[in-house]
């Protein structure tokens, strides 16, 4: 069965979600992953969009995080201040999805700037909601293609905190969230070890260890019990292609 790397990442991200999770979700692949999970093993997944929409039932794939299809037929709409206070800061969010231009060895994310902040080489969009999502969601997941420039040893700018320079340092700040739990790439899955360092815990059946190593900016450790992921099932791919993204906007 053929599938794209986007499909592969989306399916593997969906599998990380648990039934009943409350997910703070962005557009793009995270949105697809959540909707796939809801149609498969997690029918009671509750999606909260940072635009302030709870319990959305989008009848089409939204391009923007504030698309009107998210509102019509949802269960609740609140203000942005409320979604960040009553939902996220209060601890009502189980899972947050994050992305960024750089993810480093300890799961810190840069979505702000390449180079110096005051004199940027490349100016990126900035935090949006991710600074607080990374801090306060119970678990965070990151979906990103596996490329060396995206996985430096140390990010140029910490837009959202992973484990900083190690798990104990994050703990010391007292932030409520447990930090990044998995980085799903097109080659495999990285997860933090006891020290908060990202290590390879699963490899996709289409990828090799060598590929992963040369596309990672630090000397990547491999978990002793590293798994090989199950390839996307026919049913998963059917839902993605026929129901969720029929015109192939993201996949």
């Amino acid at each position: 069965m053929n599938y794209s790397s986007s499909e592969l990442m989306t399916v593997n991200a969906a599998r990380l979600l648990q039934d009943g999770d409350t997910v703070f979700v962005g557009v793009g692949l995270p949105n697809l992953a959540c909707n796939l999970a809801r149609r498969t093993h997690a029918p009671n997944l509750l999606m909260i969009y940072e635009a302030g929409v709870v319990g959305a039932r989008p009848s089409r794939l939204p391009l923007s995080i504030g698309d009107p299809t998210l509102v019509s037929g949802s269960t609740l709409v609140c203000s942005m201040y409320e979604v960040f206070t009553l939902y996220l800061q209060r601890g009502n969010v189980d899972v947050g999805f994050l992305g960024g231009a750089q993810i480093d060895r300890f799961g810190n994310i840069n979505a702000t700037v390449i180079g110096d902040y005051q004199h940027p080489k490349v100016r990126l969009p900035g935090s949006g909601g991710s600074m607080e999502i990374a801090a306060w969601a119970n678990r965070c997941y990151i979906i990103t293609p596996h490329q060396k420039r995206r996985f430096p040893e140390k990010v140029d700018f910490t837009t959202s905190a992973g484990f900083l320079t190690g798990r104990s340092q994050r703990l010391a700040t007292g932030v409520r969230g447990k930090g990044p739990q998995a980085v799903v790439t097109d080659l495999g899955i990285l997860q933090p070890d006891e020290n908060g360092e990202l290590i390879l815990t699963a490899l996709h059946p289409t990828a090799t260890l060598e590929q992963v190593r040369i596309n990672t900016g630090w000397e990547l450790k491999v978990a002793p019990d590293m798994q090989i992921t199950e390839p996307p099932s026919e049913e998963e791919l059917r839902i993605l292609r026929e129901e969720l993204d029929p015109t192939g906007i993201y996949l």
Partner: protein
């Protein structure tokens, strides 16, 4: 007391060179018509604040209206970057001041609430805090843990687009309500643009729906389709095609200049703009109705 006037009159009276402007709306209800009118009137040195600058601020910056931008996410949502804003910031031609979304709207909340600062829990990510001196810390007197604080944002003028409003300015919004209320209460002046001007009795039939009270509003402008290419819930769809096309239009300065000539300077007002978009676009963005189940307030 009616505050009805044309958008041109409202901008002329309440938006001045050098003002701090907050054109509100998170994806939804972005008042593009007001941005275009500001460009047509040639305002200069504005400080433009929005959580997401979106295309509206990119157009205003490209037209030379602004000296500074205050933001928390500077991208074309779902598409990519805002090329001109990015270049202006990268080259240092445009001043900027940056927050997270929560920081940005907390500043508005503080402004709207009359507070001198507003607390937020720590996020462990301290680089933005180091880069922006407005971020400070205060020790919680109960737990002795430090919280992050920000000062109020107090714009000179907020521009808020709404679905329906009476002539005095009592305004109702549904769908994504973003930071509309906070922006209005935080600002010295408030311009409301509305898809529909309704009788006061429509507003009074559902007071819980009202987000902005008339007495803080300075001008009420009837501007149907004000939000295109953004959208108005229930009235027309988001023009995703335009957001995708903008990525090409904005590849060159010339492309943007041509766009501004044709769609901003080249039209008199929003009505002409909307007509110019043509029937096919009108059709593509039209929306079938889906009504709320009404509620009973009771005669007392």
């Amino acid at each position: 007391m009616t505050k009805l006037c044309t958008l041109s009159e409202a901008i002329s009276q309440f938006v001045h060179d050098g003002d701090l402007v907050y054109a509100a709306g998170f994806t939804h209800l972005i008042p593009f018509a007001a941005g275009h009118e500001i460009i047509r009137q040639g305002r200069k040195n504005l400080i433009l604040a929005r959580a997401t600058p979106d295309i509206i601020y990119e157009q205003m910056v490209a037209a030379g209206c602004a000296r500074k931008i205050i933001f928390s996410y500077m991208g074309n949502p779902g598409v990519g970057s805002l090329r001109i804003l990015r270049e202006e910031v990268e080259t240092g031609r445009l001043e900027w001041e940056e927050y997270s979304h929560f920081g940005m709207i907390s500043r508005l909340q503080a402004g709207a609430s009359g507070l001198p600062f507003i607390p937020m829990n720590q996020t462990a990510a301290t680089d933005l805090e180091s880069a922006n001196p407005n971020y400070r810390r205060v020790r919680d007197p109960y737990t002795n843990i430090e919280v992050i604080v920000l000062p109020p944002l107090l714009p000179d003028v907020a521009i808020v687009h709404v679905q329906r409003c009476d002539a005095e300015g009592n305004a109702q919004i549904w769908g994504i309500i973003g930071e509309q209320k906070e922006a209005a209460f935080a600002s010295k002046h408030v311009i409301v643009t509305a898809e529909e001007i309704v009788e006061e009795e429509v507003i009074r039939s559902d007071p819980n729906r009202t987000i902005i009270p008339a007495f803080i509003v300075d001008a009420v402008c009837h501007v149907p389709y004000c939000a295109h290419p953004s959208y108005t819930q229930g009235y027309y769809d988001r023009d995703n095609l335009f957001y995708l096309n903008w990525d090409k239009i904005s590849e060159t300065r010339q492309g943007i200049q041509q766009y501004l000539e044709e769609w901003v300077y080249g039209v008199k007002d929003r009505q002409e703009y909307w007509q110019k978009l043509g029937k096919e676009t009108h059709q593509r963005l039209s929306v079938k109705p889906r009504w709320s189940v009404p509620v009973n307030y009771g005669e007392y």
